[in-house]
Symmetry: C2
Subunit: 188 residues, 2 copies
DNA sequence: AATATAACTAAGCGTATGCTTAGTATTAAT
DNA sequence: ATTAATACTAAGCATACGCTTAGTTATATT
């Protein structure tokens, strides 16, 4: 009985995600989203409720993209720790911007909103972090005699290292990033 | 011939710095600064020119505070690498907020503004990073046979590790932060 | 005491923010 | 063809933004 949507929600959310990724949550206005997504504000609000709704869907889109382009490769690799190292290098390319990098959307969000972030947003963030850590643990377990405790410690270490890489890639040159990655994996 | 200022610029900037530290640059409005600094917008603009001016002075204030409360202790310590490790633990306390942490103001700014930050702001950031790295290098040099190249690599590693700690302290618990610090210094 | 200078107050500038709503166009079932 | 339901356009809502300005108050010099 009703008119058809002239856009696919998944497609416009990918564009919204790009904008949030580049600019952060607060600095991305609904007018900017309107232009980038190519749809009117009415459509944005009828499809996603509010700005936070667009952001939550964008976080989800980011997770899918990261899974396809980064995490699945890591999962399917059989090089153990070496494959995690490769994941670090892959991440740099994954987050490449015009000149430097735009970091990891999840890390950017933690850094911008911190503990005063919305509950749903925090939940998405913790959920994503947990899923990455899980894969790290899998890789650390392969060909290893390490205890569960050691593996958990090392996974925590890698998670935080990755956040350092995310921030640093926005300002530091490739050589410094390489130094960091090489040192990070020296003793694992 | 003229009336006296009813505030000291250094004192009100410290309050502005606190606000920027907690909320970031964009999310801190001039109205918020007005309230926190305890002076009228006219006074803000006549003393500091514009919002960016307040921020630049705030960055400078942060640098002084970090020097006094963190860096000088590191400089005066003679424990070599162990003193850098202590610096990492000290940083966590330095950046303590109500519940979790507010990170490092410099790292927060890099993460928020990235490469599209104002030139003067970028310059302040790089300058601060260079001064910290310099102290790290000094400590790495003490009681060590490492080559200059190795020391530089390790300093780069520590700088980026610290940024990871800054972000992670906003969301992760103390145990995970401890794991991270302990693992970080196993690689040196 | 009069005066020039600068610091104050508070109202207001134009624009941008997140979000809504009145009115119109398009669809699929009757 | 009529109708009901939904998607569209575009104008507008109240509020907040960074910043300015007209008018007043306090000060050190004359």
């Amino acid at each position: 009985m009703a008119r058809k949507k002239e856009y696919k929600e998944e497609e416009v959310i990918e564009k919204a995600m790009d904008l949030f990724w580049r600019n952060g949550y607060e600095s991305t206005s609904v007018r900017m989203l309107e232009k980038e997504m190519g749809i009117n504000q009415f459509s944005i609000y009828s499809s996603f409720g509010n700005k936070k709704g667009v952001f939550l869907k964008s976080l989800n889109c980011y997770k899918k993209k990261a899974k396809l382009e980064l995490i699945d490769k890591l999962k399917n690799s059989s090089d153990g720790i070496e494959s995690i190292k490769q994941y670090f290098y892959d991440f740099i390319n994954f987050s490449k911007d015009i000149q430097l990098n735009k970091g990891c959307l999840i890390t950017n969000t933690v850094n911008e909103l911190g503990e005063k972030a919305d509950k749903e947003i925090i939940s998405e963030i913790l959920n994503f972090a947990a899923s990455v850590k899980k894969v790290f643990i899998q890789k650390l377990e392969s060909n290893s005699l390490k205890t569960t405790k050691t593996i958990n410690k090392q996974a925590n270490y890698l998670m935080i290292s990755l956040q350092g890489l995310s921030v640093a890639s926005k300002m530091f040159d490739q050589e410094q990033l390489n130094d960091f990655i090489e040192s990070t994996f020296k003793n694992l």
